[in-house]
Symmetry: C2
Subunit: 333 residues, 2 copies
Amino acid sequence: MPTTLHDVAREAGVSAATASRALTGGTVSAGTRASVRAAAERLGYRPNRAARGLITGRAGALGLVVPDLTNPFFADVAKGVAARARAADLPVFVADADEEAGLEVEAVRSLARSTDGLLLCSPRAADAQLLDVADARATVLLHRRVPGLASVVADLADGTRQAVEHLRALGHRRIAYVPGSPGSWAGEQRDVGLAAATADGGVEVVRFPPVAPTVAGGVQAADLVLADGATAVLAYNDLVAVGLLGRATARGVRVPEDLSVVGHDDTVATMAHPSLTTVAVPQRRAGAAAVDLLLRLVAAARTPGAPLPEDAEVTLTTHLVVRASTAEPTRPR
Amino acid sequence: MPTTLHDVAREAGVSAATASRALTGGTVSAGTRASVRAAAERLGYRPNRAARGLITGRAGALGLVVPDLTNPFFADVAKGVAARARAADLPVFVADADEEAGLEVEAVRSLARSTDGLLLCSPRAADAQLLDVADARATVLLHRRVPGLASVVADLADGTRQAVEHLRALGHRRIAYVPGSPGSWAGEQRDVGLAAATADGGVEVVRFPPVAPTVAGGVQAADLVLADGATAVLAYNDLVAVGLLGRATARGVRVPEDLSVVGHDDTVATMAHPSLTTVAVPQRRAGAAAVDLLLRLVAAARTPGAPLPEDAEVTLTTHLVVRASTAEPTRPR
DNA sequence: TGGAAGACTGCAAACGTTTGCAACGATCCT
DNA sequence: AGGATCGTTGCAAACGTTTGCAGTCTTCCA
């Protein structure tokens, strides 16, 4: 019962072919175009995506796979993606992989056929696995870099470097670092930043065991960190930083007087008290940029002369936002 | 170049019709089914959704419209929806309406044709608008009730009642209430709860101007609340509660000694320090239940004898989670 | 004035899948 | 042993759209 192109054509007194051309930008007379448009409007015509997709071979939709929608970092990215996709009039399938590489791969497999392109945000799967399952001509990685695939990342290494420099400038000499699950691309980047910042000495970074990207993870790490002599702690994630801060406060350790805390991502940093000094990552912008890149990619893939976009590896800058959770160390602990 | 059903059929030595039946559960011999399945597996066959959708009239996908993916409440709901939809092997289109009724309606319009059913989470649009734009046989409302449409809601009124009772039991007599944008269904429900809890006197609720569902909104409300004599404040949202708590602390007002704070939704309650007493709403479960209901709804709509599901209005219970942000008032302020 | 070129339109095929119908063989019952 | 029934299969149509091709009509130039 939904109105079809034929209904519109009949209403406008033309053939379906002409109606199609009038609506999709083919060569028709101005008068015809106007009357077809009017008929379509009058009847509330909406093209059948399935039929269009069948003949054109395009799905008219994008796909986004994230590890966890509940993580504010990914929620922000998803928002950026959704906004940019809406502007391009493309609906987007969103899959939540529950932090599992297996579900991630399965999502890619099933979404690949029903979309024109896929956005994989911080995928947990291994490089080889991704290269195997993803179509390089229709996939953009977000916050992950794999040779052979297009990607949009933030300069995490530099962000971490800025954070350490900030703490060093304040006078901290022993800094605790709480990392995430080992083997992740983001983790490696942060390691690069740590190495760069500690290269010329003057500051020592002690690495703690990895924890989950949650407030609970931060709480768990807090007691270990407090047992150490560090005067500052750097968390790989704002949620972890919030957990650290909360637990420290609960145990009577004052932040930032007794302990400086630095987060990462600038997601929930203003929810903490004191508000968190953190490394801001432009999640929304990254999401939007990824959609842009993906659109260029699939457009290039459709033209036979296939010059893949030069700038298939986008890097966005990060910057430290200094708030209230960092200060000069009062006394050596 | 992707493998089609014909490829599978040829590989298995049967017709396309038989291959289709073998894979989708038609009547074929056990041997045929096995060999077709084997062929499909060998070739990595994935059915073309567009072609299937065109002939069956089903899209094989669901749609979810939320006001803001960034709001942890909706992110949780989306996670519940995604998990349940994955179990049903249905991908889900997610649209972010940016808290605007107009975008919401537009999302419904464009998604309606490309999905089998739509989930509208806390829609901002007016009742009449929703009834106009939504197909009652394929739409489920989440955290909103409109006569004529199926819905899954939480008992917000009772949650608010529990919160007020809790504060009264602690000895509070003057409670500040910070509401959200006026005219919302959830707001009305909370008003019902407030009325119920204050009916037999003994406690007074003072209503403050509405604020945005953000930490900033809470900060904004905080100074107004502190100027009042209330010993406790009830926020319509955890984010707002966090803002209230942070600002109060910053101004030297101790929580819970000088001011008790109660949030709502149990989203970011454990991020605050002290952790928030809040009304827990089962978002994930609501999302999953909404998918279930939607699936039953569309199944019923497909059978001509159309007995719409009896339980088209699901209500989930809420309960107060008492944490560290509420206590007996120390002295009248 | 004749022809070529161009603008506009319709016919029909095609995309990959599902499904009604009919055909076939085997099995069962009487 | 004959007919009916059932299980299994293939043929062909159908879903709604886009698009190559050819046709018609107009316009322009020589």
